[in-house]
């Protein structure tokens, strides 16, 4: 019996449907994209030519793509630490209040639930250089003590920043909106993480002499939130790399002032869909997948090494 079971090939029939679907739906598109990235294929065009590494060479040499990397990494570098930090801070604060916790939770979670495309209109309106509420409010501060701040004084003398259409401010403004939108999600994840911290550990810390909240945080809360933090940071990184809707809503005509907000997702969309340069689009996609894959691998490594203490 054992021999027939080992020799029979029936197990292949059990595995093959799932395997085939997996290859077809998950792996094949990536392989095709990787293949296309070595060609100058365009949708509907005939005879795609093999161009080798030319697409990749362009990405790493042309100034447009350099701007793409600068914009993307600036966005990720600003949004990830701030939205994780704010999420943790909000979660700790909400966890410490006895009443109204649910109200705060709902309010902080509102931007996550709202469609960003719709909220973009509100932000565009608020940040309008002349009629926007932001600059009007700032202008009210002119002539007061605030003018001691050099930036404020110069802005009063000339004009306040144009925010979304200002080359120096655009990426920071978009990043700010990204934080505003994303930290509520991190807060919910951290709140879930906080519920799993054993109460007895805080009591042990108290008995051991950890009096200040900071000492308790360092001794108990932060280490116990390790797994949550790894997850939150990874997911926020991936979400930040994928930022697209804000950029598309504010700058449908290509990447903001001087392409300062030309993030990767938007570049893929512009090249592959708008300009029908599938080869270049595919090359950026492969790079993007590479970054995300790196993040995931780092996460796995961290999870297994550092933050699970058992």
């Amino acid at each position: 019996m054992a021999k027939t079971a080992q020799n029979s090939r029936i197990h292949i029939w059990f595995v093959s449907p799932a395997l085939a679907l997996m290859l077809l739906i998950l792996v094949l598109p990536i392989v095709i994209a990787a293949g296309l990235s070595f060609t100058d294929y365009s949708l509907g065009g005939s005879n795609p030519h093999w161009v080798g590494l030319e697409n990749y060479e362009n990405i790493f040499t042309r100034s447009t793509y350099q701007k793409m990397f600068v914009a993307t990494f600036t966005y990720v570098g600003v949004v990830v630490p701030l939205s994780v930090g704010l999420g943790l801070g909000a979660a700790l604060l909400i966890n410490s209040v006895k009443r109204f916790g649910d109200v705060y939770k709902t309010i902080y979670f509102l931007p996550v639930m709202a469609a960003l495309l719709a909220m973009a209109i509100v932000w565009e309106f608020a940040l309008h250089p002349t009629i926007g509420i932001v600059n009007k409010t700032l202008a009210m501060g002119c002539g007061t003590v605030l003018e001691n701040w050099t930036w404020y004084a110069t802005s009063c003398a000339k004009t306040f920043p144009l925010w979304l259409t200002d080359r120096d401010y655009a990426i920071w403004t978009v990043a700010f909106i990204g934080i505003w939108q994303g930290f509520g999600f991190n807060m919910v994840l951290y709140l879930a993480g906080l519920t799993s911290v054993p109460r007895e550990l805080y009591h042990a810390a108290e008995m051991d002499g950890a009096y200040s909240s900071w000492e308790k945080f360092r001794l108990v809360t932060w280490p116990m939130l390790g797994p949550t933090t790894v997850f939150v940071v990874t997911i926020t990184c991936i979400r930040s790399f994928q930022v697209f809707d804000t950029v598309e809503a504010f700058y449908p005509q290509g990447g903001g002032p001087s392409k300062s907000v030309y993030v990767m997702m938007f570049a893929i969309y512009e090249k592959a869909i708008q300009q029908n340069l599938m080869g270049v689009g595919a090359a950026i996609t492969v790079l993007f997948l590479g970054f995300v894959m790196c993040l995931t691998l780092i996460q796995r490594w961290l999870v297994e090494r550092k933050v699970h203490y058992a």
Binding site: P198, E200, A204, E206, M207, G209, V220, M224, Y309, A310
Partner: protein
């Protein structure tokens, strides 16, 4: 060494009054056990003593000074928790160093990497203290491991070690053995008792297991529904409980509580058989007599002093046999302890005769309080009075 007093402690969680005016004096160097069923307030009392919980009213006095406003660590007590509460990300060494670091080092010296680098000497001194304790607890080979890599018994020792490093005036233990398996628990009982002797320090121990309380403590306090019902040595509590709840809680198997009647002289009739014991007030309804399983004996034949019972279940524990019996036509159930040789032929559905040993039974009234038996002289006097 210092004595600890809890004075008029009241505590309520919402409308639920957990502690009702509890008074307790703990002498220096004793092993005091707070024992009671779950929800009786014993853990809350311990946490109030530790400072983790504030009492609504009442005072905690340690070494003659009121510590109501003192933070837990400054009370110089150490606590061992039920779940051990070891820091899972720190090694055993760091776990045991933590209380010392927090007490003895300034915040600058405690900085993550710079601290140990610039103040090597204090760190080495603390390390030496930890190593000394680890050696006495025989955990010095585990110092580099994380708590997750230890067995239950080893974690227990580390938790004890973390409590011991600060050389506190008293150890507070909140059911520290309840997460261990049965064999290890019995072993740790002996070890904790030894530790208590060698440390010569005060232990306050909370448990729901009367066997732990009986075996380890110098004195035990039986708590129920927010009151301390009785405080005394284990022997006193076992032989002389002042409340039916204490009598029932302490001892395994439970004490037999048999409803009895009295005759006109107050003489107690146990299952229709008159005994030599009498109470002062006769015609008391719902009087109960408490008899431990070992205070009853199985007799082979009917005598004047014995009453019949039917065996419902025979529980063989090797050294002892517990016979579960139905008496008075099955209206009451009792357990009798016997040596296996005495009851070798007896099984379920057999009828046996039960007599009393020479010990004095305990009598409880309707509300569960102890009723004193009349001394034999008074009984005789009363009888003569009736006759004349």
């Amino acid at each position: 060494m210092a004595s600890i007093s809890l004075k008029n402690i009241n505590k309520a969680f919402g409308t639920n009054r957990v502690l009702k005016n509890v008074n307790l004096d703990i002498e220096a160097g004793e092993f005091l056990t707070l024992v009671g069923p779950s929800g009786c307030g014993k853990s809350t009392l311990l946490r109030i003593l530790a400072g983790l919980e504030a009492a609504d009213t009442g005072d905690v006095v340690i070494a003659n000074s009121n510590v109501n406003q003192t933070r837990p660590a400054s009370r110089n007590l150490a606590m061992v928790f039920q779940s051990y509460a070891l820091y899972p990300h720190l090694s055993v060494l760091d776990n045991m160093l933590t209380p010392l670091k927090l007490r003895d080092l300034s915040w600058r010296q405690r900085l993550p990497i710079l601290g140990p680098l610039f103040s090597r000497e204090p760190y080495q001194a603390l390390r030496a203290q930890v190593l000394e304790i680890a050696a006495t607890l025989k955990i010095d080979s585990l110092l580099d491991r994380k708590p997750g890599q230890l067995s239950g018994g080893q974690r227990q020792r580390v938790a004890l070690g973390r409590a011991m490093v600060r050389k506190p005036i008293a150890f507070l233990m909140d059911e520290p053995l309840s997460n261990l398996d049965a064999a290890l628990r019995v072993h740790m009982r002996a070890e904790l008792s030894e530790l208590h002797c060698s440390l010569n320090s005060t232990f306050v121990y909370v448990t729901h297991d009367q066997a732990e309380a009986m075996t380890m403590s110098t004195r035990m306090a039986v708590m129920m529904e927010g009151h301390i019902l009785q405080l005394g040595t284990p022997d006193e509590i076992y032989r002389n409980p002042n409340d039916i709840r204490v009598a029932e809680f302490v001892g395994s198997p439970k004490m037999n509580l048999i409803y009895v009647r009295t005759d006109e002289l107050g003489q107690i009739e146990l299952a229709g058989v008159p005994t030599n014991h009498a109470v002062g007030h006769y015609n008391v309804s719902r009087l109960r007599v408490g008899l431990r399983p070992e205070q009853l004996v199985v007799t082979s034949s009917e005598t004047k002093q014995s009453f019949p019972g039917m065996v419902t279940y025979r529980e063989n524990l090797g050294a002892d046999v517990f016979l579960h019996l139905a008496i008075e036509d099955g209206s009451q159930k009792i357990v009798v302890r016997a040596a296996p040789s005495e009851v070798s032929g007896i099984g379920a559905n057999d009828t046996v005769y039960i007599g009393l040993t020479k010990t004095t039974p305990l009598v409880f009234n309707e509300s569960g309080k102890r009723v004193n038996l009349l001394p034999p002289k008074a009984q005789v006097a009363k009888r003569q009075q009736m006759v004349s």
